[in-house]
């Protein structure tokens, strides 16, 4: 079970003072998400480990700069992880022309035993939320987020009009926001 964002945010001031125990707790809470993003985007376990380490070094260094009033820790960490993973993919692409789409696994409807053992509750909620998107919305969002593609590249990849790609991504994200609001109010 994950700890709440407020509790997670409370760890940051401790981390900022050099508290290694608090940092270890932060790692335990966020490492599955960070590693998962890195692996999904980079599509390479070794790179994912390196990216994960980079992200946590960032979190350690920048802990004092985190402002809980302006966001939550998970979003912050996810944004850093996603950015680093996309940067890594770009860097790798400079060396070899990769086929991006083949490895783009759609988030499975069910997870394996190992994944279920990790942070299963929040992951299942997330997978469930994604399941409420229309297939075109989900496809466009996943290409953008996991594939590191711009909306222009998503349009090219799917062979659809640019406006359509933008609409699918935007509406998909707004749908996710709506789902989260429903969950919060229930």
């Amino acid at each position: 079970m994950t700890i709440e964002n407020a509790t997670l945010a409370a760890l940051l001031p401790r981390v900022a003072t050099g508290d290694h125990v608090a940092f270890a707790t932060l790692y335990d809470e966020l490492s599955s998400m960070v590693f998962g993003i890195a692996k999904r985007v980079a599509r390479d376990g070794t790179h994912a480990e390196e990216i994960t380490q980079e992200v946590f070094v960032d979190l350690w260094r920048l802990a004092a700069r985190f402002d809980a009033a302006k966001g939550n820790v998970r979003s912050w960490a996810a944004t850093i992880a996603h950015r680093r993973a996309v940067d890594r993919v770009r860097s790798e692409q400079a060396h070899r022309n990769r086929e991006r789409v083949d490895a783009l696994a759609v988030v499975p409807a069910t997870s394996g035993p190992e994944e279920q053992a990790v942070d299963g509750e929040s992951r299942q909620r997330a997978v469930s939320a994604l399941g409420r998107l229309s297939p075109p919305q989900r496809e466009a969002l996943e290409l953008a987020y996991y594939g590191g593609l711009t909306h222009v590249e998503v349009a090219d990849q799917l062979g659809i009009a640019l406006g359509t790609a933008k609409t699918r991504i935007r509406d998909g994200l707004l749908r996710l926001r709506s789902v989260l609001r429903e969950e919060a109010s229930s």
Partner: protein
Amino acid sequence: MTNDDASDLLALGAAGALSDDEYDTLEQLLAADPLLAGEYRELQASALVLAEAASEAPPPSLRASVLEAINNVEQLPASSTAQPVTSEVSIEASPADASALPASHPHAPSNVVPIRHRRWMIPATAAAAVVMLLVAGLLVNRFADAPSGDRMSAVLNDDDAATHRLTGSLEGLRVVTSTDESAAVLIGSDVALPDPGKVFQLWAVHDDLMVDIATFTPAATGEVAILINDDRDDAEWAVTMEPEGGSDQPTSDPIAISSGPA
């Protein structure tokens, strides 16, 4: 920009689906409008669903590696003013040891980390032919264990230090030279990343000679902080983009150059 355009920009940005230039536009928009910044944060939280759905347990051994990795990493203060920085700050910094300096992007609210960095565009600038002067090992400070944070602080706080601002496509970079400390610091924020597979290379310019000083890659947050064990106060400074590992001599025109101390 219409409201629809702004809404698109926010959503696409939160989904990681903007080009680098579009992210620049987004950051300016967020800086100018706190309400939009709030909406953007909410959309980022929605995009968190994608992150959570990808969750996967890392190898158990990674935990020890990460906890070990931070042992020698200096933490940054809460303020974003130019302060001494980590002793690990990077010459040829890899992402792992890059000087992830302040998250405070000048155009973005706290915690709003641009997902993409601006992709570097080499301007078609004309430049005089240059001649490389190799002074092997003399200038490049590959300090691994020096108390560079203190040294950087001394340089930056030296009342007699001279600041050389670089202009061109890497605005925000400056070289601060201190004759008292016999050192200089290359420092900057919001600096774009080089193209994939490339690094930036700093050169000291003496007349028509360009002397290799260091290669560097900005940290993920766009910050740069490099201690240079030579003040070179009579030099001008230039930056080129070079293949990884740097070049013995510039392979491209300077993309940023100083015009003497301020």
